[in-house]
Every structure is written in structure tokens, then in C-alpha cells.
Symmetry: C2
Subunit: 243 residues, 2 copies
């Protein structure tokens, strides 16, 4: 099964203090772009894969979704979700996305924020998600950008002019990456952008939009510390239809 780092106490404590954990969707700087890739949710059946604290589930319910199923492997996260983002239209379920099979032909939208880069068998998951969509349905998801997950050493360098420079190597060596983000030994899976698209198209999806997120100039004006995040692509945001 996927490493369940979110139930590690050190990781969970650190994660709980991130802006996106304290402020919900508005604390996630990529949210405005990801939100712009969503269809209208009124009356829709929504699936959230790796729902965490349930911020998106609650958002979808507030937007008028008929039902929202939030799935996560972390009991700690679901527990807080059930407490803080409860809604009569939202159901939370604990499951490992490596093997989880949502009901077939049941959803208009599958959503996933920053979960798929933990998954080893992503071809299998995309296939099961595709089967879970109704005709006209789609997938909107975010992952850490392959340029972020590739390097052996994920540390900024400086070029000969002293400019902040992101160190790309190992790009074509896909697979396991271990980082020490919030806790020791967090395991992610590096895949190229080409592979993400191969897996999606191979599962039958049609690409509708691919955005490589960085903070906007306006966001940098509000948070000058983010300036160097415009040097590199940070997240990959994808919208795909059942096709």
C-alpha cells in the first residue's frame, strides 16, 4: 500500500500548520487556477481522491453538488474532516488509493489535489477513475510538477549571475523519491509530464487543459518571498474529460 505519511505524528503536526491546512482552499495559492478548471458543480455527483481535511468536499457541497464522496487513507485527516467540514451531502470513506475502486458510472467529477504523486500504480487508479465517471464526466487534479520531483537534491542553486536556479537532474529516471518534507522519509513517485499524459490518455481520458502553476505576479506582490517560485514550474494542474 501507499506510505500513509499523513498519520505520522510529526508529519501531521507540520502539515496541520501549513496555510492550506489552517485557511483551507484559500490558503492554497494554486486554488484560483484549479478552481477555474472545474465544471459547474450544481446537482453533480463528486468524488474527491485524497480529500484530506475535506475542504474541497465542503466547497463542492456549498456549490450545490448533489453528493460528495471524500476518500483518504489517513484516519487522522478524515477524523478532522468529519468534525470540521461535515455536511449532509458529504460522505467520508477511508481507503488506500492504490487499490480503491469507486463505484462505476457514478460520478460527474473526480477531483484530486496533490495526492497522485504518492501513488505507485497510477495506471490502475486512472483506469478505475475513468470507469467511475458518467458520460460527460471529467477529472480535475493537481500533482507536484515533475521538475520538482525529479532532482536527487531538491535544493536551490545559483547560476553564474547569482540567480536562483532549480537543479534538474534524474528527469528520466522515474520512480521512488524520498524527501524530508515535514518528516523524514516521505516517499513520492517521480513521473515525467509525458508519462502523466500517457497514463491519462491510455485510460481513455481526453486532455482538456494542462497548466503549470507558479504564483502570479499579483501573488508575488503580496508575498515577496514567493518571487523565486516563478523561476520553476511548481504544480501540474490537469483537466481531462471521460472522452
Amino acid at each position: 500500500m501507499t506510505q500513509n505519511i499523513y498519520d505520522n505524528e510529526t508529519f501531521f503536526a507540520g502539515y496541520s500548520q501549513l496555510p492550506r491546512s489552517v485557511h483551507g482552499l484559500d490558503g492554497a495559492p494554486e486554488w484560483p487556477v484549479l478552481r477555474g478548471m472545474l465544471p459547474k458543480l450544481t446537482g453533480k455527483q463528486v468524488l474527491d481522491l485524497g480529500c484530506g481535511f475535506g475542504w474541497f468536499c465542503r466547497f463542492a457541497a456549498d456549490e450545490g453538488a448533489a453528493s460528495v464522496l471524500g476518500v483518504d487513507v489517513s484516519e487522522k485527516m478524515l477524523e478532522r474532516g468529519r468534525r470540521e467540514t461535515a455536511d449532509s451531502r458529504v460522505t467520508y470513506e477511508r481507503a488506500d488509493l492504490e487499490t480503491y475502486a469507486p463505484p462505476a458510472d457514478a460520478f460527474d467529477l473526480a477531483y484530486s489535489s496533490l495526492a497522485f504523486h504518492y501513488i505507485e500504480d497510477l495506471a490502475g487508479l486512472f483506469g478505475r477513475v475513468h470507469a467511475a465517471l458518467k458520460p460527460g464526466g471529467g477529472l480535475v487534479c493537481s500533482v507536484e510538477h515533475p521538475i520538482m520531483t525529479a532532482p536527487a537534491r531538491q535544493e536551490w542553486l545559483a547560476d553564474a549571475d547569482g540567480r536562483a536556479t532549480w537543479p534538474v537532474n534524474g528527469y528520466h529516471d522515474e520512480g521512488r523519491r524520498v524527501s524530508n518534507w515535514l518528516a523524514e522519509g516521505v516517499v513520492k513517485r517521480h513521473r515525467t509530464t509525458g508519462t502523466y499524459l500517457d497514463l491519462l490518455l491510455g485510460a481513455g481520458f481526453r486532455l482538456e487543459k494542462l497548466a503549470e502553476w507558479a504564483p502570479s505576479p499579483e501573488q508575488v506582490a503580496n508575498e515577496p518571498g514567493w518571487a523565486k517560485e516563478r523561476e520553476r514550474p511548481f504544480f501540474l494542474l490537469i483537466a481531462a474529460s471521460r472522452g
Copy 2:
């Protein structure tokens, strides 16, 4: 108009000595992957945008294409093409891709190798190419990968372990890049992968395949000097259908 660097004598002399100029398609290490993205060419009407010496035009004719139109801005390249890759089914035409409008509904395949990263108005070109395709037609093309075109200084660095590391910065600052490859002041246009896809989908294309090329382990075994090319993505290869 696009800078016509290929008619610069210094550039042309250097370019003419590259393996891909001496050995044709077999001298281009990405060719096996790009070839694998092509449809069957028998009986097809083919357009080659930025045809250079005409190697692909000749290949398409040899594969049984009914007609091949090769377009390039460089008179020097077309002149050699007319001499060395002449075929009764191949026609060469000089035109600037910034404004060139191929005949509408006329082609089964539009092909372009390493030309689109010179084009400023790529949205316009993609629109004209889409209109030039017959129903069922498609586009297969290669460009320098955005990770290659982004950096202010396109020079390898070493990470703290001494590993060859490609320096990414300026990724989100799209536009003009000046490099000194074969000649001084070669002007290219940096675009993100997201923007290439936006422009394609916006023109009405459907994405069929996106590959981020690096030499295969077998190619590196034959050319050990290429080992570090597996650290970074080098070319972006795209297949798209008229949709």
C-alpha cells in the same frame, strides 16, 4: 518575420556539419520516437513545415505519400533540398511560417521538426495548420523542450554531489531568448509546455501523444557522451489530431 538564421553563412556552415545534416533522419537521435508517432503515409498528402534539407519530405515520398509539400524560409536549405532530396512527389516552397497559410482542407499530415520554437505567432500558425488538415488528419511535431529554452544561462551546473544538473530559471517568463548556438544571436521563443498545449487545444487539436525525449539507455551505451542528456528533457514531441 522570423529571424532567418539558417541563411546566415556561419550558422549554415555549422548546421551543415551536424549529424542530422550529414546523415539525415538517422542522424537525429529523436527520430525513432518521432517516427513512431506518425500515421501510415501511403497515399497521404503531407505538409512539412520548416523542411530544411528535405530529409523528411524524401522519407515521406519513399513511404508512399501521394504528395509532399516542404516549406522553409531558408533559400540555402531549399536549394540543397531541391538538389539532394528531389522526388517527383515532393514540391519545395519558400515561405515564412509566421504568415504562411497552407491551402485549406488539403493535408492528411502536417509535420514539423524543431521549427516552432522560432515562431512568434504560434497561435496563428496552429490555426492555419488546423484549417489545412482534412478530416482525420493530424499534426506531428518536435520543439526544443521548454526546460531547455527557459534558462537565462544555458550551461550545466553541478549539484552538491557533483552530478550534472540542468539550471532551470525564468520558466514562467515566456518570450524571446537569444542563444549563441552555431552563430551569435540566434533568437528563439520560450514557451511553457502548458502554453504549447493551450495553443494546440485552442486551435481545435486533440492531444494524442506527448513525449519528452531523451536518449534511450541503448543510445547512451552507443554514445557514452550522451549520458547526461538523461538528466533533463531535451525535446518535446507532440502528436495531435484534427479533433
